[in-house]
Amino acid sequence: MTQMKKRSNRIDATDRLIITATQHGLPLLARPYDEIARQTGLSAQLVKQRMSAMLENGIIRRMGAVPNHYRLGYRANGMSVWDMEEARIDDIGGLVGGLYFVSHCYQRPRCLPLWPYNFFAMVHARSKREVEAKVARIAHLVGEASRSHTILYSSKILKKTGIRLKERREETCSD
């Protein structure tokens, strides 16, 4: 029994086949799992079983759409960083992480003296003003648990790979 549990938390060759077949996306067909089954040589039943298990144990974070926030008009991206009291960080992380406009929320090490911040919450909005309003909402939740905070705006994307954008025309132009 424990061995089975252990196994379900690690990926095996079957999972690997499924991951390889789906890491670029789920087939846009009425019966997508049948298509994955066809590609991997596994049964659709097994594919569904394994993917459900990977969802349940967090190997798959979620199944769904990844919006391209720039394209959707969310061009202001502010990395809010906070100098947070260690003892409060988990409670506050739970609250801040639940805000719909926060895409990533992490505890990370400080790097003194230059970097006193140990809590990062990435905020996306349509304008800087909107980022500021959203960061103010975080500040309200955080209260006195944070000694100071700031927002680092991205001024330019220098590199972004690993997403599949079909912008062929521009790619050839920039080459």
Partner: protein, 158 residues
């Protein structure tokens, strides 16, 4: 990397917006998952699949499907930062970006003005990549590995 094509989110129909909002939440693992979502949106399955392909093609969606957790697949990810002298910024950006392990890199308005994500197949390789970047740029890389994560589940409100 700049998107200069004419279409903007303002051109999205109400149905496309509903699809994007609805599909961030998740897709059930069942024989005909699109059917279920389509029914809840009041459209047919073919229309949903057609619109979804178009949203992907036009770049409004980066991808659609399972989002794997790289760390759970044995890989490692970290956030790193550099303080780059302004006059060397482009040169350093190129040196950093040349590494395949650098997945994202952003210029940010701060003394630490370059922030990038390093993703590798194994944890030990993170330090190797950092070592190489330091040797190539002559700059100190600050490493901010995550100690705890409090979600991943951005939902856009269109």
């Amino acid at each position: 990397m700049k998107m200069s094509t004419g279409l903007s989110y303002r051109d999205l129909s109400q149905m496309d917006r509903s699809i994007i909002n609805r599909l961030q939440g998740g897709l059930p693992v069942c024989d005909e998952p699109y059917e279920q979502i389509a029914a809840s949106l009041g459209i047919g399955q073919c229309e949903l699949i057609g619109r979804l392909s178009k949203l992907l093609e036009e770049g409004f969606l980066s991808r659609f499907g399972p989002i794997y957790n790289p760390e759970r697949l044995g890989g490692a990810v970290t956030l790193a930062a550099l303080e780059v002298p302004q006059e060397r910024f482009d040169e350093v950006a190129e040196l950093v970006n040349r590494h395949d392990e650098v997945a994202h890199n952003y210029a940010r308005a701060h003394q630490l003005n370059m922030w990038f994500v390093i993703a590798t197949e194994a944890l030990a390789q993170i330090d190797e990549v950092i070592g190489k970047i330091e040797a190539q740029t002559g700059l100190k890389v600050l490493n901010f590995p995550k100690q705890k994560e409090y979600l991943i589940g951005l939902r856009f409100d269109l």
